[in-house]
Amino acid sequence: MSIRIDRSRCSGCGACVRVCPGNLLKLETESSGEKKCAVRDCRDCWGCCSCLKECRSQAIGFFLGADMGGRGAVMTVERHQSISRWKVVRPDGTMEVIETDARSANRY
């Protein structure tokens, strides 16, 4: 279970670095001088998705390790006010989208 960072999308804002409950992320300066986010050790991720929620550029994708039955699907989330749009893209290109609303309680 871990995350992957799409460096081409990352703006280097540092929001994810601040929020990770394990301090697992850091900013690195690329040869171009741009700052980009990097994971210190991808095995240390708890899978809480706090960094995904914080990232305005959807640069962070969440996946399950093969030791948990992962097969390469990647999850991202986009937040607009109370709505979170969770998107799962499988390796074959198929996709599922689920919306959650912070205003409505779980029914179970």
Binding site: R43, A66, A73, N106, R107, Y108
Partner: protein
């Protein structure tokens, strides 16, 4: 790197140096809160409401916005007194579930606050499901259904609103500071704590008149369910590493019931909570033959787990929660519910293209944790949540004696502790001059304590890559960027440390060794949670031999320094845990503390096993049960 220090009120600080690795900052406040999680944030809110002039500092190792157990969200409020029930009912339920080893006074004082803190949470913005009459919709007789995704940001915002509350994020605390009264039986009094900035490397010397310990429990002591790539995919937060217990032990505080480990029954692989399925859609526990087995072993928390272990051992596993057959609407509701607390489970269902309506959800037991919010492990406190060190209070998963606290219980304890701290400070203020003189005399001693801790930081850093002593080069520029007037600098830190040698091991190696020994000799997953007295002896000696190795670990930067301390904390908690497991010569709770040499419960052990760390050894103290209706006060 710009740090997120909101609401910074700089009044009253000692010397403030420019931040940078190895420089030391002194911060004076009235109340230091260690750990800005559930209890820490709420404690700050209540304290500031009670007395807005109090200078409160929260020192949090991550960022209070999403730190601790609540990072991903929670699925329900597990502790609430529903209509027709009384706080006494909840207290007696929790006492029974713990087979009599819990504190009647703590459970009752907590239970009395549960509904007030719930209402407060709702006012702060938590969404709670209501029925058609506008009343909270309940799940069973103690649970409320909520949307818990944003519960932590809500609590963090409440803490930040405090007029004189200062939030210091990314500060990892490693040691308490204290003074001792005159004479051999002099009262030990809390005076502050030492720590460092995980991102920038600055050392911190906090001085406070009272301290609230709220660092949560301890995970990662045992080999986890997914020991390889997904090693941190565990139920309890892998970043709660038992720091509060370790610091308390070091300071001589008394601990209770560490041997009542918590082992959770969770969804296989993702280790996601099962309550939403078990209570939410009433799914029963079944074995691979489709037989409902939960009734055969009893319904206490430990028995549900034990039953699953036994079914597997008898070859009737894997075990499942029977969900197949639920409607597609229910399935979709579950997808959303899990996204609000454990997104990995929804991802797993979607990735597999098989939802809980089609396939039952496999379950497994986790590795054992020490978590005072679920079981009764932690600081030995009085009914005001004062520990055995004056001025040091504890709340939430770090505090012992009150199992089944969960979120609302942690808030309740934080409230009780906050009000008690306010009262304590008031009394101290009235005690007046004498105190101040005493404090001044103590200042030198406290500085000494902090410096000794900083010397340990410097030693680990001096063994690491940024160090001149190891590389023969100047320390890296960013690590050396501290102002000249700073009390300590990393260049001084980088001078060859006494007896330092090139480290042989790294943190990972020692952590794996610790987890392996605990798994094999102290009742981990690999031994079906059972242990023997002889095995515990082996565990003790193996853990003991890892401790000096941890002192020689190298840190290239402040983050690695935190990793080293996390390991050291866990090792100390392991040592105390082993002593507790060894002391309780019975099996009162299946799986949680299953002693193969003493397989039955015994009335002789209807007492608390407590401990104190003295002269490098864990000393066991047994104490009589505080039953419902009784009250316990410290006798010093």
């Amino acid at each position: 790197m710009k740090k997120n220090q909101e609401n910074a009120c700089r009044r009253g600080d000692g010397d403030i140096a420019a931040p940078g690795a190895g420089s030391a900052k002194r911060i004076d406040c009235d109340v230091l809160i260690i750990g800005g999680g559930t209890a820490g944030c709420y404690g700050a809110k209540i304290l500031s409401e009670r007395n807005p002039e109090l200078k409160i500092v929260i020192a949090e190792k991550a960022d209070i916005k999403r730190s601790g157990c609540l990072a991903a969200g929670v699925n329900a409020l597990n502790a609430y007194i529903t209509e027709g029930h009384r706080p006494e009912d909840y207290a007696s339920y929790a006492m029974k579930d713990a087979a009599g080893i819990a504190r009647g006074d703590l459970l009752l004082t907590m239970s009395r606050e549960l509904n007030d803190v719930t209402e407060d949470l709702e006012k702060l913005g938590l969404v709670i499901l209501k029925d058609e009459n506008g009343k909270y919709a309940t799940r069973g007789w103690r649970n409320l259904k909520i949307n818990g995704e944003n519960i932590k940001p809500i609590l963090a915002a409440a803490a930040k609103r405090g007029k004189n509350t200062r939030i210091l994020n990314h500060i990892n605390i490693t040691r308490l500071l204290w003074t001792d009264g005159a004479g051999p039986s002099g009262t030990r009094r809390i005076a502050g704590a030492a720590g460092f900035d995980v991102l920038e490397g600055t050392f911190y010397d906090f001085r406070a008149r009272a301290v609230l310990m709220a660092t949560g429990g301890a995970s990662g002591l045992y080999r986890p369910n997914n020991p390889g790539f997904s090693r941190h995919k565990m139920w309890y937060s892998p970043f709660n590493t038992g720091a509060g217990y370790a610091m308390g032990l070091e300071a001589g505080a008394e601990m209770t019931t560490l041997e009542m480990r918590f082992i959770a029954l969770r969804c296989k692989d993702t280790i996601a909570p099962t309550g939403t399925i078990a209570q939410g859609v009433n799914a029963r526990q079944i074995n691979s033959r489709g037989e409902v087995y939960e009734d055969r072993y009893g319904l206490a928390t430990s028995q549900r787990l034990y039953g699953t272990v036994e079914e597997n051992a008898a070859g009737r596993g894997p075990c499942y929660l029977k969900t197949a057959g639920i409607t597609p609407e229910t399935r979709d509701d579950l997808y959303r519910a899990y996204l609000n607390m454990a997104p990995s489970q929804t991802l797993k269902w979607l990735e597999d293209r098989v939802g809980p309506d089609e396939a039952n959800v496999e379950i497994e037991g986790t590795e054992p944790y020490v978590v005072g919010g679920h079981t009764a492990s932690g600081y030995w406190v009085d009914s005001k949540r004062a520990t055995t060190i004056r001025g040091l209070y504890a709340a939430g998963d770090v505090a012992g004696g009150a199992p089944q606290k969960y979120v609302t219980g942690a808030l309740a304890e934080a409230k009780i502790a906050a009000l008690a701290i306010s009262e304590y400070l008031e009394k101290q203020r009235n005690a007046g001059e004498r105190e101040t003189a005493e404090t001044n005399r103590a200042d030198e001693e406290l500085r000494h304590q902090a410096d000794a801790e900083f010397a340990v930081y410097r030693r680990h850093l001096s063994l690491g890559a940024g160090s001149a002593s190891k590389t023969g080069a100047e320390p890296a520029a960013d690590l050396n960027a501290c102002a000249s007037e700073d009390r300590e600098t990393l260049s001084a830190a980088s001078a060859p440390a006494d007896g330092a040698r090139t480290p042989f091991f790294d943190v990972q190696m020692l952590e794996e060794a610790m987890q392996k020994y605990m798994d094999q000799y102290a009742g981990g997953i690999g031994s079906n949670y059972r242990y023997s007295q002889a095995g515990l002896q082996t565990a003790k000696s193996r853990i003991g031999s890892l401790m000096p190795l941890a002192e020689d670990l190298a840190a290239d930067d402040a983050y690695q320094l935190m990793e080293i301390f996390q390991l050291k904390e866990r090792l100390k908690v392991c040592l105390a845990l082993i002593a507790h497991l060894e002391a309780r010569r019975e099996t009162r709770w299946r799986s949680f503390a299953e002693n193969a040499d003493y397989p039955n419960a015994s009335d002789n052990w209807l007492k608390y096993v407590n401990s104190r760390y003295e002269n490098g050894r864990i000393k066991i103290i047994c104490r009589p049960i505080v039953r419902a209706g009784e009250n316990y006060e410290h006798q010093n």
